[in-house]
Symmetry: D2
Subunit: 132 residues, 4 copies
């Protein structure tokens, strides 16, 4: 899936570029749109008592991003097993790759790790197929 | 009460100064230390089922604040009635006044406005006296 | 002008609602889109050596806003004189007014207060007329 | 080096825990104190025209951290060559390890990658020895 939005002034720092911590926020936004596009918005999962918990976050910053630039995030579901799933992110400004990231997640219900809900797993597995 | 801490890089923006939204975060920090100093840390109020809700926030920015500067916040309880209370904030770097703010709050329990808990009201009223 | 976008998870706090500091960031976003819609994106003003400096920020929070809700911001230029201008913001979720804010600004060039650039003043004054 | 500070309310999210993006901000704070403790505050490096640029950031989140908890960050310089250096971070609450992170950096002057300034390299190398 492709997620696009413009960089805000409050996301920059005194180096004049997007602060690195904000890339992880942009990843979260793109993940949210990915889930919505698959028909399972995170807000709905939360109503059903699930939390998606972030277990790992990684990012390689290749080139700075500046205020008012439009970023394009290619977000993909990379893998999925009984409990865990990974997303990957390629962040572009126009055709230039600015950053590459990945995050690992699981589902939690009532404070405990649970296997990925079956309905969701089918929908997600379908995305995995689509992308290969 | 006086609250001090150093400005972090992630609090700056591309103008090279502290982003205005972060002043309200520094106010929150100083408020937290104020409540702790009075013997009622906010985390403890939350365990008892109370939330402090913010109703208004105001700030006048007089001069910019820069990375690594140490800010000194004079935080005062300005007023207090059955339901509502106001804090005021003077933000200094060394002896230079950089910003002046105020915030209005109330207490909420089980999602409803409640009068300020009596124990807390006494402790707070005591601060009002001290400051006049 | 109307600015819309969805609330992100990272904008919420442990009260389960949008943290108050983030309203000022949403105001900034809406201001950016306002300037762009008038034909003077802030990034272009910065290339010409201007900074828009924020002098005051005020917000009254009427009701909480939650994750994944779509906010609609009515942003208006309220006043404009030789040096200073005010924006106002009404923040809605569907038809419910959640917050009311205003901010005061000026232009700075080479670190000094300057009168509002004439070209910009004409474009902005035009907006003032439109809204009355 | 050990860096300690308390978690603020604005750092939490609607899961009631510290938002993952903020760990990278806490890492930045601890890095800042590390450099200061070695006698080379980052603000001073910037006055000399250097920027420390972040190239990679990684974090494994082991257990959530909550509002008002005091985090203790063990920050270490892990490696250092002509151009690049890595920091590692162990984040504790009391004796419980909550997260493990690492970041890769380089120096930039006038927009170009430069070798690590010699004076700084000596001071940092000294830290490497101390820690092994």
């Amino acid at each position: 899936m492709i997620y696009r939005r413009r960089i805000q002034f409050y996301e920059t720092d005194a180096q004049g570029i997007v602060h690195h911590s904000n890339y992880f926020r942009i990843f979260e936004e793109s993940r949210g749109e990915f889930l919505r596009s698959v028909g399972i918005p995170y807000s709905k999962l939360r109503e059903e008592g699930y939390e998606v918990v972030l277990l790992e976050a990684h990012c390689i910053f290749k080139q700075p991003i500046f205020y008012d630039q439009e970023v394009k995030v290619e977000v993909r579901l990379e893998s999925l097993d009984k409990y865990f799933f990974w997303f990957s992110y390629n962040v572009f400004v126009e055709d230039s790759l600015k950053a590459v990231g990945k995050t690992k997640h699981c589902f939690v219900k009532n404070g405990k790790l649970v296997s990925i809900p079956q309905k969701l797993k089918s929908l997600l597995a379908c995305q995995l197929d689509k992308e290969t």
